[in-house]
């Protein structure tokens, strides 16, 4: 899947206070066109409406939207499930529109998703990013992701990808860290039990 965001601002940016941005968990069908518009605009791969529904219907609590003055300016879409005996979270799409990049919105969106994944018992979180997507690589690097593998000509345009992985600490080993990450999660929903038999699609 893809990520289109950069902490380096490109082009004309919009002036706003971080507190002006409102983060909302996926709230229903009325959010779907907003997510779709953003992803369609920014990412090259074709996703049908069913792709979005697959994610947001099964894991609504893992998807977030960022609003500025009522406009949706960023979104993150995720899933989680069993993968080779590991309960794994997966970040499928992450988009922040250009004028709003470089202000930490993407970091906040991903952070919220990962917190829910941690609460739900995920042991690790993965995603793919183009090797040339420096912004995304830096963002995920700051969160603790490592580049676990390089996927040779992964995208159909011939570009390699990195499989990024975040190993979450086991609570019994490092409880302080988990507690720190769990602070301020009033926005988060109850953890949903993941559906059985779901699998990664990459």
């Amino acid at each position: 899947m893809e990520t289109k965001t950069s902490e380096e601002a490109e082009g004309a940016s919009v002036e706003f206070e971080p507190s002006d941005i409102e983060y909302v968990s996926y709230g229903g069908e009325h959010h779907l066109p907003l997510i779709m518009r953003l992803v369609d605009q920014e990412l090259s791969e074709p996703y049908s409406i069913f792709t979005y529904r697959y994610f947001v219907y099964l894991w609504p609590h893992l998807s977030f939207l960022a609003f500025h003055k009522g406009n949706c300016v960023g979104t993150v879409v995720c899933k989680m499930g069993e993968h080779r005996n590991t309960f794994r979270g997966y970040i499928a799409m992450l988009v922040v529109i250009k004028p709003y990049r470089g202000k930490g919105i993407a970091t906040e969106l991903v952070t919220r998703s990962i917190k829910v994944m941690m609460e739900s018992g995920c042991e690790e979180v993965t995603l793919e990013a183009e090797v040339t997507n420096k912004g995304a690589l830096a963002l995920y690097g700051r969160l603790g992701f490592i580049r676990a593998k390089r996927l040779f000509r992964y995208y159909l345009n011939g570009v390699d990808a990195f499989r990024l992985k975040l190993l979450l600490p086991r609570p019994e080993i490092n409880p302080a860290l988990l507690m720190a990450a769990n602070n301020d999660n009033s926005l988060l929903h109850d953890s949903n039990k993941p559906p059985e038999g779901s699998s990664q699609h990459y």
């Binding site: 791969e45 074709p46 049908s48 090797v131 603790g144 040779f152 979450l168 699609h201």
Partner: protein, 755 residues
Amino acid sequence: MAERGEGGDAPLPASIYSDEQTVWADVSPLLEAACRDLRDGELIHGENFSLFAAMSALEIMDPKMDSGIEHSGYHSIEEAIEDGAAPIPLSFDRTVDVQCTIDIMDHFLACEATWHKGHSLAQTVFSCIYLLRLDRTSPHALLHSYCRIMRATCAAVISVVSDARTHEGRVVRLCMGHYWCCMDFTTCVGLSFLNSMSLEEDLFTMAYGLPLKGEGDEKCLSMLNAVEETISRQLRACKASSSKKGILENIEPLQTNLDLEEGYCKALLCRLRFRKHFYHVLMCMKKPQGRGFELARKHIASCLSELAYIYNSLEFLGFNAYGSCQNDIEDSTTASGRQPVGFDASLNSRLAAPTPPRAIKILSWKKAIKYFEKLLHDLDTICSFSMDPLLEGILRFVVQFQKSQPDLVARAHLQRLLVQDGKLYGRDPVFDVICRAAAVSDVPKNSGIQKSEIVLQLGQLAINLLKILCTNAAWQRRKLGKILQDWSVIYVQLELASKRDFAETPNILTDVNVSMKLSKHLLIWTEEQIYWIASRFLMLGFELDLYSPTEYCMVYWYMYVVLIKLAEATQLRMGTSSDIAKRKGKKKRDLPKDLAKDSQIPPMVLLLQCYICLSEGLTMMLAALRNEHKIFQRPSAFNTEEERFIQHFELLQRAHVPGHISYMLFKESTSHAQFSTLVRYNYFKDAQRIAKELRSSFSSDSDRLVELRQIEQVAEHNWIALNVICQAGAEDPSLKISFEFSHHPCFAIATVKRS
């Protein structure tokens, strides 16, 4: 929604006969009724229809998904031909006909390079309508012979890559797996390729439904030779007439514009000859055990010189191009800059499975020439390989070969040379190879040891290792990480077996001795391979850009630990082999001088010592920067450095390579690093000193001398950086320190700048 066919208002029949069991039915009324029933946001659920399955649905008329929208307009090859998309002759003006034929040849070269670089055959070489209906071209001897050798060449290349296909991988993300099975909107079917994993060679060799083999292709060379002969005579005749020597033979010229005759003859000849020699290269390299390599090298040299002629024809062809050339030559797929006649990539899109049929960009003609130059140089390197019987030399050769990042076709050739019929070079049984590598001198005859389960497995592991080393770097690293466990398991088994053998056969002393020695040698050798694989695994991580600068410290530390183990195992193995050399040497009088100094450390081990020093030096410098300058460390929101350590070295740790290594140990060995102590005990100086001393040992080995020079440079730059940082002190905030790989792909040098 279903669309009506092209008939416009004419109603479709209720059903169309398909075969005895089935009919095609128009489902539009059913879908319309279903649409009326469903509200916005409602979904159909079914046992065999989940949200996951729904993702493979297609949205018709969405240009991102529906490749049918950008269809060329032809429904079949026949339709394209009838419409004049691939005329024969290409023009009734013979000059234009020649020009167009050259364009086709050039575009073929670009297509072929694009195919080799990872696109499907169907969308590249076989986008040529002439090639898809080869028999049609028989009246046009020039085009026909060229198309035929193209087809035979593709088949030969596919055969090499198929032979080598066991391992090479490329995980292809097939977007969400949309694939047109049928272009007709009333009967569209979407197939899901979710979770698909396709190997690099699979995509390469995919040739479903393409006319790849045809009768008479074995005669492709003689056809080409005949055409070449005719054109060389035309060239001779043209030269003779222009020098007023009179006409030698009564030969009809190639085309009608006599001023251009020589230029066109030459442009064609180098293209034909390139094809001929390239085909010869493939055929020679196909011969078992490298028997055709010498001849192959001659053809490679010819190919390269013909490529140069082809490139030089650019000026002539570009200047004399008829019609307008809109293309910029840098992007053009032909030397003339024109679009070629007779190619249509969309005709084959139904055959392009399993990738969604998308438009691909064919490499430019100039890039294609560059690609073939590189391929030929890589093949030449393979052909000039001495076919070293020693595994150590082979591993070194393969690693060296991979440094130039050869593409799939070259790598497949190397793999086929190394492993044929489960034997090295198709010649040496693996057991013999291992015994040689492990310096086992006397294998007890009829001892059955060759057939023992463990030895067979060890042989299989060695073969797999060779194959893996021939794959692309990304796949290679993943596979190396995985096979480490197999090697570790076999090591433990060997260890157990040697103890058991000793316990069970106490009577026959000589046998015990021999078998004990064999076990000991195999054990040492296996251990050495394990650490060699581990070091390669770690180093490839740098080449693939998998480590961030904040992780360099732990990676160099792990590398240091692995390299020490590797050096120990190598020294042990060489110690045992020099025992043998000593014994053998005593029988002969002319004992080589350097064997006499067997108490010294072998050069190979000293070379490893250089890398150990560099690794340790970099570890400590990075650790001191973290401890005193508070840089190159990264606190992160969700985990600690320990988790990142576990992730990076998971595969090594799982295989106990080496045992008892933990994050705690890493912390213990680096948490006290300081610049003041680092300058006093300098690892970089040691590396530099040993590298200098080693020059005489490797004086006849140019690759090793380059390697030593690299080591010296890395050591020197880091030594200077270390001093600068040390003098500036930790308090100086204006120092900007970064690490670069300008002198070695794995060993960084610190660069210090003042901001």
